[in-house]
Amino acid sequence: MKVSVIDHLFDPWQVVADYQQGLTALKGKYGATCLFVGTMRDFNEDDSVKGMYLEHYPDMTEKQLLACLQQAADKWSVLDALLLHRVGDIYPDEPIVAVAIWSSHRGDAFDACRFVMEQLKSNAPFWKKELLTSGESRWVEKNTNGYAKKS
């Protein structure tokens, strides 16, 4: 299991593909991989956003991210897990977070990946400050419930 806090643009598909390539001992053992990629949107709560700054608490961040993966592995049959999270200045359409879970069967991969995202959002010490196109900036006060209103 690996976590990584990244201060530059990264390609989640490539990083996960490379990481999987290195899982030589698990070849033929995992039947399921669930990857979640969180990307920066250019609007939030009806305001246009041109960028954001993601502050974090160095060292505590890595410790909490690893705890998220460990808790998931305690609850489900997880063969391996990878968690990447950006910090610093981030612009629309850039990836913010990637969580990948490898397991024998699909249910474990889906549930563990979802769980890690929810744990991360409530426990990992990251704080988003949005820069609006109006020139204002504001701290994001709380997370959304994760669903869009269905029309």
């Binding site: 990307t39 939030n44 909490q64 010490p125 988003k128 701290w139």
Partner: protein, 79 residues
Amino acid sequence: MSIKVRYFASLKEQLGRDEDNLEAVREYTVSQVWTEVNPGQAMPDNVLIAVNMAYVDQAAVVKDGDEVAFFPPVTGGER
């Protein structure tokens, strides 16, 4: 030695500083640490607290050499 007190994000901006050092003349609870370094100022309602990078509540004991952090609700992940 001393107790290092750290602040992050909006709380850091409100206080106008990112850390304090408290000479540890005795053991403190987390809420006593807050009062020592922010006299006359109430701890924000929704503040999160970590001692040595592990979450704790206000009653937790802080010793010489510990690092205490106060910060607002976290907002990582996608958006």
